[in-house]
């Protein structure tokens, strides 16, 4: 099949899909007489990705495959489709998620140990309902507590192909970055810069 035609077909297929499509999955859209192989698809996808560079939409590859999505630079305008702003996650939830991401498989007690406070069951439940985490096994200690790990959906949500793409755990940080909500530029206060 002609390169340009293949690109257009893939563009039409992926843009009308409601989930990411892997190369294997994309192959099933073609019949033998279409004469399309994995490499053709790979090449066409990479051309398409280049083509959409710097535009309002992007073709990205996540853990489950390729999908089109709007570029984050324009979220300010795109979110006006909906009356409500997406919910902000609490720090407790994010810290719990961070521990599961970087220390998986991990038990709830281990999370509590590092954070120094109890983890509410609502946080675990919310993360499970979002399908970002799941129980991956049980620890062979008394009570056989669940071991928690992240899912492929988590990677898909955060535009990641694999956990390797997560930023590495940082070294010790300065305080302004750690407590942005407190506006701690203590000596000279910027008076009205907070939103």
């Amino acid at each position: 099949m002609q390169t340009e035609k293949l690109q257009n077909i893939l563009e039409a297929i992926i843009i009308s899909a409601d989930k990411p499509l892997s190369i294997e999955k994309l192959l099933t859209f073609f019949a033998t007489e279409d004469l399309v192989n994995r490499n053709d698809i790979k090449l066409a996808l990479s051309n398409l990705q280049q083509f959409y560079q710097g535009r309002g939409v992007q073709l990205i590859e996540t853990a489950s495959g390729y999908r089109f999505q709007t570029h984050q630079d324009y979220k300010h305008w795109v979110t006006r489709h909906w009356d409500e702003k997406p919910a902000k996650y609490s720090r407790a939830l994010l810290e719990t998620l961070a521990l599961i991401v970087y220390r998986q498989p991990i038990t709830r007690a281990e999370i509590e140990d590092i954070r120094g406070v109890a983890v509410s069951s609502n946080i675990i439940k919310t993360l499970q309902e979002r399908e970002w985490i799941r129980i991956v096994g049980h620890k062979e200690v008394p009570g056989r507590p669940s071991l928690l790990g992240t899912t492929r959906q988590f990677l898909d949500y955060f535009n990641l192909k694999s956990l390797d793409e997560m930023p590495s755990l940082s070294e010790i940080q300065d305080i302004d970055k750690l407590y942005p909500e407190l506006d701690l530029n203590m000596q000279e206060q910027k008076t009205t810069e907070a939103d």
Binding site: R91, L94, L97, V117, N159, L169, I172, L178, L184, Q189
Partner: protein
């Protein structure tokens, strides 16, 4: 915002720096004349995710080296904050008190005379420092994760019109069980947010609402009485009436009557005259 009737009686020891700007208000570890709006104080104290977080803040605030914590001073400040939380009746998690006890213990051990050859690992602060450093890394990781672009918050899926071939596509089957399980799932989720009452009677009213709306579709006016099917019996008539009332309440239909005792007509709201 309610003003506290008297100044907070307790003064933390390090008063020279404002400890935060909360909702635009400077909160100092309070000077004599400052009245702290209790709400703002609560916001401030609630920003801590636990004792490690609070300790880390106290250390970082003074640019202290985490490896060389002046334990007596930090313990004092920590206790001040815990007391402050207690004063404003903030639900004080037990963990804060456990930490207080731990700090007190470290402090007392540090007061004991030490031998020259004592190694670093024997520093009673070592375990605390290790935990603080470990916690700090994940605190940072959490805010890094929050900054990563996320589907549904920063990126959105494409939703385009699909031109497809007009051929018979296989239609999936569904069972009543599947449908009910799906509904049960929604209900479970809704239960957590708000309570939705869905009664047995209501479904027949809702179905009737659909029927009434459908029979108004495309008509300018429909006479009220023609909506009732006497074959449905007394209950059917009542259900139809309730459906009409519900639709009126929702402002989906209008009811008009030219004069008293004249026939009553219904029409969809917004339909052209």
């Amino acid at each position: 915002m309610t003003q506290q009737s008297e100044p907070l009686p307790h003064q933390p020891s390090q008063g020279e720096l404002p400890f935060a700007i909360v909702q635009g208000e400077a909160i100092s570890a309070p000077p004599e004349d400052l009245y702290i709006p209790p709400d703002a104080l609560e916001v401030f104290l609630e920003t801590f995710e636990g004792p490690l977080d609070l300790l880390l803040y106290l250390i970082r605030r003074q640019n202290l080296d985490i490896l060389d914590i002046p334990i007596a001073e930090i313990t004092q400040q920590y206790m001040d904050y815990v007391e402050l939380m207690h004063k404003v009746n903030l639900d004080l998690a037990a963990e804060y008190l456990v930490m207080a006890a731990m700090l007190a213990e470290i402090k007392s051990r540090m007061l004991l005379p030490r031998h020259e050859e004592v190694e670093d690992e024997d520093d009673p602060r070592a375990e605390l420092v290790r935990r603080l450093q470990e916690y700090e890394r994940f605190k940072q990781a959490a805010s890094d994760i929050d900054e990563m672009p996320q589907l549904g918050r920063d990126n959105f899926l494409s939703d385009v019109e699909v031109i497809r071939e007009d051929r018979q596509k296989p239609q999936p089957d569904i069972s009543m069980q599947e449908l009910l399980l799906a509904f049960q799932d929604v209900l479970k989720r809704v239960d957590m947010q708000k309570h939705h009452e869905i009664e047995r009677e209501e479904i027949s009213i809702r179905e009737k609402m659909t029927h009434v709306l459908a029979s108004l579709d495309g008509h300018k006016f429909v006479e009220f009485q023609t909506l009732f099917n006497l074959k449905e019996g007394r209950l059917g008539v009542v259900v139809t009436l309730m459906a009409v009332l519900e639709l009126l309440k929702l402002k989906v239909i209008d009811m008009v009557q030219a004069e008293a005792y004249a026939p009553i007509y219904l029409k969809p709201v917004g339909s052209s005259e």
